[in-house]
């Protein structure tokens, strides 16, 4: 174990953390408005493949990012239509979305497997800051999407707590009927939240193919979409806590491939179970401790709203 490998570990922690955080933020927004979207894997896959394809075709990484976000939002809107407009069961629709997204991604990407990337988002250099020991490589030499994730985290947090839109979104997730009576369109708010969640998941996927692992192959997302879903619960639906959780889980992902360099003979596979086991443990602990206190979950999460149902 030496300094370089430790620094490398932290760099990877931040990188993976940002990957998870982007997707988790999207799901947080969606769930805050009351909609459960289990299709995160599918949206990430679509984002990843469309970013890669756009990169190859247009050779502009930023355009590729935009394409990925739009694609993610579009896919998510399918779920939005069925669950919000029609009021169908959210669990089933979300899972179907995963199947659709992963399948669609494989279909779109089949001619691009193994190709070299057409565009990449290289790590940003912040001049002198990037040369600082430790802090330099870890915080000031990351890919642009890491900073985007940070910015988005702050933005989502501010929007939710200090704007009219944020108030309305939160209200839609707590009590759709109260929000409706107050004059907001629950339909519009929820559709927006679902689409925004899709856009962020798409961005997360784009991060994969534009920076982290610049190539396309089926199954690239590898279960990280589910971590994002867990992260939201782990962080009790708060952007700040979710960020810490993302770093924690990002760390376990980073540690996975680096254990040998630390001379630790612990299986990386077992380590990769950690995020999921951790979430379980935290959930149980929260439940035991606060049986009387209200759950932090948005009260109306998962429930369809129809105005005239008595």
């Amino acid at each position: 174990m030496n300094e370089a490998s430790l620094i490398g570990l932290f760099v990877a922690t931040v990188s993976f953390g940002a990957l998870l955080y982007l997707a988790a933020l999207g799901e947080l927004l969606t769930e805050k408005a009351g909609v459960l979207n289990l299709g995160v894997e599918g949206m990430m896959a679509i984002g990843a493949v469309t970013a890669f394809i756009a990169g190859v075709e247009f050779e502009n990484p930023w355009a590729a990012l935009v394409v990925a976000m739009i694609s993610g939002a579009a896919l998510a809107s399918v779920h939005g239509f069925f669950t919000v407009a029609l009021g169908a069961e959210q669990v089933v629709s979300g899972l179907s979305l995963t199947i659709l997204g992963v399948g669609l991604a494989a279909y779109l990407g089949k001619d691009y497997v193994g190709l070299p990337p057409g565009a990449k988002l290289e790590p940003v250099q912040w001049g002198g800051l990037s040369d600082l020991p430790w802090v330099g490589p870890i915080f000031f030499s990351q890919a642009p999407l890491v900073y985007l994730a940070l910015v988005m985290g702050v933005a989502v947090s501010l929007v939710l707590s200090n704007t009219r839109l944020g108030l309305a979104l939160r209200a839609a997730g707590e009590s759709a009927s109260s929000t409706d009576s107050a004059g907001h369109s629950v339909l519009g708010l929820r559709l927006f939240a679902v689409a925004a969640g899709g856009a962020l998941a798409g961005a997360s996927g784009a991060y994969l193919t534009l920076s982290l692992t610049p190539q396309w192959a089926e199954g690239l997302t590898a279960g990280r979409g589910w971590i994002a879903v867990a992260l939201v619960i782990f962080g009790a639906w708060r952007p700040g806590r979710v960020a810490w959780g993302a770093l924690l889980f990002g760390g376990t992902l980073a540690l996975k491939t680096r254990l040998q360099t630390f001379g630790v003979d612990f299986s990386p596979i077992i380590l990769s179970m950690l995020p999921y086991l951790l979430t379980l443990a935290i959930l149980l602990a929260i439940s035991v401790r606060s049986r009387k206190r209200p759950s932090p979950a948005p009260t109306g999460l998962g429930l369809a709203y129809r105005r005239e149902e008595r």
């Binding site: 179907s96 867990a230 439940s287």
Partner: protein, 361 residues
């Protein structure tokens, strides 16, 4: 501009869910046709090959039935829990846990006679899946923790457990350093019924049959359905909700585990990381389309299996596997949408569902 709204029908459309599935299928085929045309294929040729490969003859039926078996068992697992309003999203992991448990038995019982070994393996599979569900079951029954997320998390844990075993302690020393579990003993394979169809079919049919009977005809199943219909009614009639939740979730996990064991001894010849292959998630959808009724699971699983096998078959015609996945997704969404419309009607501004002439007493 006329503003639409959804209005609950007085009674669901006759034909209800099967009609919904049929409509979903039709819509999917229509959209799929466009997709295929866009990709330069001949839809007629594609669809006829799909049909031929899945339902076109005894060999086709065999493969389809083999595929329907894990789908049906997974669907049954979800449906049993769903009859009580509980979501078992962990079937994927429970299948894996079942396969792991069965493999473990195969490792220690390599020289046991065939029947004994297989039965032991299947029982272990049942136990493995049930064991994985115990945690979420207790959490839900005692602490009210939503089972969706707890079962979801354990999926990933179980899959990684299998990965670890295959790459680590159970790695086949004779596989030239490839991460493979050793082959199962020769006698650890389910006998075949006809063509390639294995006995898993009988097992699945039996389990589905028993479950349907249990849910429909036993006192236990009766209590389950009451609790699923209305918690207040259940309390009113003296049913212990927490005990019911516990038993139902563990049984659900066990059935999913059994699916893993059957798949291992029927189709596979060794434990692999992909043995669960999405069956767990597909099972949720199968159960939802069967309206959480065990009796409907068999038919839906068969249709689903045919769609999947058909989808695989057209790869030789140059159509990628992802197309079949996409087609499946279309069918699902079509069925979801049609299901809503069988219960709700669209009304426009100013329309009344019924013209009132007299006041009710």
């Amino acid at each position: 501009m006329k503003h639409p709204r959804l209005h609950l029908r007085e009674a669901p459309l006759p034909g209800g869910q099967p009609l919904a599935f049929a409509i979903g299928l039709t819509v999917a085929l229509f959209v799929g046709t466009l997709l295929l045309l866009g990709a330069g294929h001949d839809p007629v040729r594609i669809y006829s090959r799909m049909f031929e490969a899945s339902l076109g003859g005894p060999d086709a039926w065999a493969v389809t039935l083999n595929r329907a078996v894990p789908l049906g068992l997974a669907g049954l697992a979800v449906a049993v829990a769903g009859s009580m309003g509980l979501w078992n999203i962990g079937a994927e992991g429970q299948i894996m846990a079942g396969a792991i448990a069965a493999s473990w038995v195969a490792r220690i019982g390599g020289d046991w006679p065939g029947l004994v070994l297989i039965v032991a393996m299947l029982l272990a599979a049942l136990g493995g899946g049930g064991l994985l569900a115990v945690g979420p079951a207790i959490a839900r029954a005692r602490l009210g923790v939503n089972e969706i997320i707890t079962t979801l998390m354990l999926n990933e844990v179980a899959i990684r457990l299998a990965q670890w075993l295959i790459h680590g302690p159970w790695k086949d020393p004779g596989a030239h350093n490839f991460p493979l579990a050793p082959m199962l003993p020769d006698q650890a394979h389910l006998p075949t019924l006809f063509s390639r169809a294995h006995c898993g079919l009988l097992i699945a049919a039996a389990v589905i049959g028993i479950s349907s009977l249990a849910v429909r005809y036993t006192a236990w199943g009766y209590e389950l359905r009451i609790a699923g219909s209305s918690e207040a009614t259940a309390r009113y009639s003296g049913i212990s909700l927490s005990r019911k939740i516990l038993t139902v979730l563990v049984i659900s996990g066990g059935i999913a585990g059994l699916a893993g064991g059957v798949e291992l001894t029927g189709t596979a010849d060794r434990l692999t990381e992909s043995i669960s292959n999405g069956f767990g998630f597909a099972g949720i959808i199968v159960a939802a389309l069967a309206l959480m009724r065990p009796s409907g699971v068999a038919v839906v699983a068969l249709l689903f299996g045919a769609v999947q096998i058909g989808g695989q078959s057209i790869q030789t015609l140059g159509v990628s596997s992802s197309v079949s996945t996409i087609l499946q997704a279309f069918v699902l969404f079509g069925a979801i949408g049609a299901g809503v419309f069988s219960r709700y009607r669209i009304l426009l501004d100013g329309e009344a569902p019924v013209v009132p002439e007299e006041v009710n007493q």
